[in-house]
Amino acid sequence: MKEITVIKPLNKLKIIDFQEIYRYKDLLLTLVLRDIKVRYKQTIIGGMWAILQPLFTMVVFTIFFGKIAKIYSEGIPYAIFSYSGLVLWTYFSSSLGNASNSLISDKDLISKVFFPRIIIPLSKTLIGLLDYFIALVIVFVLMVYFKFIPSFKLFLVPIIVFLTWLLVTGLGFWLSAFNVKYRDVRYAVPFFIRMILFLTPVIYPVSIAGKYSWLLYLNPMSGLIEAHRVALLSHQNINWGLLGSSVFLTLVIFILGNLYFKSVEKYFADVI
């Protein structure tokens, strides 16, 4: 007996259809490979770009914030302080930007072929991970240079990366779907990403916020950046409260992002 597909006006709302994504895993993989290949075609230094972006940002920030403004960096060299944050931040910001434009830039696919639409933003947040791991190498180089010895906290790094992936994917689902209908997203997202950088303890420590530090609890990236830095450098203790708040917000955003995506995806082909 062959399986029967029933096409009806409405289907049941599922949070995330893992089975369907698994069935289309080849497509997901192919789309990821496509983007990686396309990205580095006709570039001279190719994958080096993954390192250069956070590295140069770190150099500039070290000169201005570290040397000139002398921002407190939790007692460790500002260069490694900011770079360990920038690595994760770069993953977050570039993946979010790519994911929110993803449906629009693949509109041909959406109006001409069927596949679970969620694969498209998903592929974008997966690609960024590659760049992240390339850029992470520099963290270890800096650690050797500044003589940091990693502790058992290092095992937290993959967990934090996974949480960041969840967060950026949840936001990506939401923004990409919203972008299909309201193209304002395309202009707003890069702007907001730049703003949020200043509301995240990437280039300054959490402690600097003083009595306003509760604000950082509202930003899910705060706890992740902070914990990521501590897990790598273990120069202090993890702020579990801040991390807990981030995990909670991340899960909420991921679930809501999925639900929103699922509830509007049926219109994509008609509206895009």
Partner: protein, 415 residues
């Protein structure tokens, strides 16, 4: 669902909002609207501007049947395929499909110009729903069928359009679903390659798979299908043997033409000019009198008139306007080639055209009669007719936007 039924469509309807597709909403507009008319936030917008692209469609297809779907542009053929392939959801009704379904609404969907031919085979295959192993198994066949072996590792952006299409179709032709939905994809490539594709599709059809095939190419429909559905304004109006349904389709085209022709031109009041001459009838037909005019065919225009007396300095201007777009396509002026037409009290003027190298579509003629340079009679939309696409270029025209009308045969060379 009976055992040998693979497609069952039940009262399927699809409503489209008109205009929404082009003008995506800006969030700003919505916010402004909320501030201006807060009472509207919770009110559901009444959608007056919609059309039913599909309206209560029901039919079923047995295993192994090859069903052709024909109809004028906008009759709902592509929408049906989009609904069946789950790209868009129906508004009402349901459809059941038994077995793996693949749809081919366009060849080369998702082709990336930066990637090589080889990479694009994998990409396109995956997009069309093939597993990686499946593509690997068929890779050599795909390459061989396309005939682009030498360029396999060249980025597709350096391909000619013909090569690109051949590669894309080769991937598509090696899909092996139980149900295949195809939309006018043979309308690409050179004639030789089209024949090859038709042959390949015939193989697929005879191997027991079910195909739904949308096309304007009646030859291909006759060649491939055992059964044809005729769509009109979102409904199935005929379902049966190909020759019967195709005949009905041609008749319906003709009926549209002759209906407008029957409104007596002589009795129309919406005319301009001095009235010294009155056009009483215009007929637009092929040279042998048939009402079906194909693009690339020759036409005859017959004008009957009444005049209040004899004239020797008349001339006629025929303006060909695309309908409903309203663009002036071209004009025939009798005084370009004839000094003055001799008019009797009652007579007939004939005009013979060369090959009409214009795209299929609806056209109307505005006729103007001048006597001594003064407008004597002018009637808008004096006659309306349809030009039927007929592969004038040797390959069907891919432009659906209709922002131009002339077809000119041409060749490409790449050096």
């Amino acid at each position: 669902m009976k055992k040998n039924t693979v497609v069952k469509v039940n009262n399927l309807s699809k409503k489209y909002q008109i205009g929404k597709k082009e003008n995506y909403l800006a969030l700003r507009d919505k916010l402004v609207d909320m501030v201006k008319k807060p009472q509207n936030i919770f009110k559901k917008k009444e959608d007056k501007n919609y059309i039913w692209a599909l309206k209560n469609i029901s039919f079923s297809v047995k295993k192994g049947e090859v069903v052709g779907i024909i109809g004028r542009n906008g009759a709902g053929k592509t929408t049906l395929l989009k609904v069946l392939s789950k790209i868009t959801r129906p508004t009402k009704g349901e459809a059941k499909l038994r077995g793996r379904t693949s749809s081919l609404l366009e060849v080369g969907t998702g082709f990336n110009p930066e990637l090589t031919g080889r990479e694009n085979i994998y990409l396109n295959g995956a997009i069309l729903g093939m597993r990686k192993g499946e593509i690997e198994n068929k890779f050599n066949d795909i390459v061989k069928f396309s005939g682009v072996e030498q360029f396999l590792d060249t980025p597709v952006k350096h391909y000619s359009s013909g090569m690109r299409v051949r590669l894309a179709f080769s991937v598509a032709a090696h899909l092996e679903p139980e149900i295949l939905l195809i939309d006018e994809v043979l309308a690409v490539g050179d004639v030789e390659f089209q024949k090859k594709c038709l042959g390949k599709m015939k193989d697929v059809a005879t191997s027991g798979r079910t195909i739904l095939f949308v096309s304007h190419n009646m030859g291909a429909i006759k060649n491939l299908c055992q059964r044809v559905l005729l769509f009109k304004k979102g409904r199935v109006i005929e379902d049966g043997r190909p020759d019967k349904v195709i005949k009905k389709y041609y008749n319906s085209l003709e009926a549209v033409g002759s209906k407008t022709r029957k409104q007596s031109l002589a009795k129309r009041k919406d005319r301009e000019g001095t009235g010294q001459v009155k056009v009483t009838n215009i007929e637009f037909s092929s040279v042998n009198g048939s009402r079906i005019i194909k693009s690339g065919g020759k036409a005859r225009i017959k004008i009957n008139y009444l005049a209040d007396k004899k004239y020797s300095t008349a001339n006629v201007i025929l303006s060909f306007i695309s309908n409903p777009y309203g663009d002036l396509m071209f004009r025939f002026r009798s005084n370009n080639s004839v000094a003055g037409i001799q008019l009797k009290r009652k007579g007939k003027i004939l005009c013979y055209t060369d090959k009409l190298n214009i795209m299929g579509g609806r056209v109307h003629i505005n006729i103007g009669f001048f006597i001594g340079g003064v407008l004597a009679d002018y009637v808008k939309e004096a006659v309306i007719f349809d030009i039927i696409d007929n592969n004038y270029l040797g390959y069907p025209c891919q432009d659906t936007r209709k922002d131009y009308y002339t077809l000119i045969k041409h060749r490409w060379q790449f050096k």
